[in-house]
Symmetry: C2
Subunit: 333 residues, 2 copies
């Protein structure tokens, strides 16, 4: 409960104080501070000077009340269960958003959005405290169900649409580069442990993989995972079982790659001489595994910054922005 919170009274300069100090009316002061209507240069200067001298800062609550604008950016993470909120990837997005929003007096909220509850988006759209919404891991059907009154203040980290701009790493390019490296280093029986089907970010890498295999006349050996280390273990085991002669594995995430590495280690299969392993994300620990993981970077903070900036500025941006990924060559491939 926010209300009934005692707070010591420190007199904070109000717009009236500024107006009085500058010898103008409140309306005029407001006009120059918020910068909309006309004002003569002299008046403007006087007001700005007075505001500076008094250390004036607008009261966000009052402003929000009258403009009807909100003061919270909600990060809505789509997933099957609320567990998605514990993902380190989500943590990074939230932290980046919270850092960028702070100077604007905008706070960040984190919410889980069920795949089957698009009504939650309506609630957010109607909530006067919500400034804008940042969709994470959204699907096509959810993006299509975004209420009209939310358009213009919602973006997506992942896929986008003409209405809802998307910001994402160049998934396809990263996968292609990784695969090219694997091929160039002589691998010819390359398997892939993919992300979950329902996640759109899984599609591009898989397409890139299939395309690369077809182009080189190699067989497709694909096994589904869910980005977790456990699924990486399971995926690796399945690959080994179905195609024992595999000589390289491309995992859709570093966590899965690390899980694969563990299985390989347990079975005494040498990496990279027997099987090469490549991941995706370049998490901090990728450099510390044994052997150190070859992987493509995922500039999460940059992507989040792009998305948040678009939201804060309410600027028009292209339907999809791709951020370059860089292949980091280490020992595993």
């Amino acid at each position: 409960m926010i209300a009934h919170m005692s707070r010591p009274v420190v007199h904070r300069a109000t717009l009236d104080d500024v107006a009085r100090a500058a010898g103008v009316s409140r309306s005029t002061a407001s006009r120059v501070i918020a910068g909309y209507g006309p004002a003569s240069a002299a008046t403007r200067d006087r007001v700005v000077e007075a505001a500076g001298r008094l250390g004036y800062a607008p009261n966000p609550a009052a402003r929000a009340l009258v403009t009807g604008a909100g003061f919270r950016l909600v990060v809505a993470v789509i997933g099957a269960t609320p567990d998605v909120l514990h993902d380190p990837y989500v943590d990074r997005v939230v932290s980046a958003a919270a850092t960028l929003c702070a100077p604007h007096d905008v706070g960040v909220s984190l919410r889980w959005l069920s795949l089957h509850a698009p009504g939650d988006l309506d609630k957010m759209a109607d909530d006067p405290s919500v400034h804008s919404v940042l969709l994470v891991n959204t699907t096509q059907s959810i993006i299509d169900a975004v209420p009209t009154r939310l358009l213009g203040r919602v973006v997506s980290i992942g896929i986008g649409s003409p209405q809802v701009p998307g910001f994402d790493v160049d998934n396809g390019g990263a996968a292609a580069a990784t695969l090219a490296h694997l091929y160039a280093s002589g691998r010819r029986r390359i398997a892939m442990v993919t992300g979950p089907q329902w996640m759109p970010c899984t599609h591009r890498p898989v397409e890139a993989y299939v395309a690369a295999m077809h182009a080189a006349g190699l067989p497709v050996r694909s096994v589904p995972g869910d980005f977790t280390a456990a699924s990486g273990r399971a995926g690796m085991a399945e690959v080994l079982h179905r195609w024992p002669d595999t000589d390289a594995v491309f995992a859709g995430s570093d966590a899965m790659a690390l899980g694969a590495l563990a299985v390989l280690r347990e079975r005494g299969i040498d990496v990279p001489s027997d099987i090469a392993v490549a991941g995706f994300d370049d998490v901090p620990f990728a450099a510390l595994s044994a052997p150190a993981l070859t992987t493509a970077t995922h500039p999460v903070e940059e992507i989040a910054a792009g998305a948040v900036t678009a939201l804060l500025a309410q600027s028009r941006v292209p339907p999809q922005t791709a951020y370059a990924s860089e292949l980091v060559l280490r020992e595993s491939a």
Copy 2:
């Protein structure tokens, strides 16, 4: 800029609507909704019913404006440089806070607090948009410099004080348990790679280490680190150089332990037969390293939940709350 944001007009039930529907005055409606003054049972029921029927929810901006309460919880991370904000640990705290605050219409902001700029705390104290402050990694001098008008709405993750409640993992206990395990498994030349001196959370584990060594009549072999993997590598190298006969290393963080593991691997020193390694935090990848890391858990989300709950409820809590850590035995020790 929050202002000037066009927003489609959807009529949202206001307190006046509820009052009218219930056939009472706005004051009465407010009284029962916010739950302060007296009200007859019948009136109360009518208002509650009307509010429910109309789907009424108070406008946080209006409420904040009149009560003077803020709607942002700011997570202030203390550190030498703004880089501390990129720490995965901080990410987890922020995410947990953002999740817990969301239902209360409170947003989270993340800010860096320089060790030498206590004035920033004054700014927060005077900012009408800040509801409360969550200090992370704070030092004694900063905690002592917290402005009086902020007391009651500031807590710390880490050390606390009678005025500023602290929430932290039982650092000392975790260290003692780890050391006891090392000793019980026959290790007698145990070194420690500590956290940075200026961070209070470094003290307890070091004290526990020194105490354990003294109690067992063993020599103290301590080397400073800064919680990063790089410092773990450097620390391990130094330990090996100064005390070649070391048979166990206790690192103040998993990242450092993983760095140590890498050095040991490079030098062909077997873990755990030659040297045992134990970490602290139980990060996700601790289970995936080779060998899998023995480490003590650090319930960050729980701790953050305790701190945020105290802040949101404005409740009186003990000066210091310790959260139990559990030793997870894996292969490295």
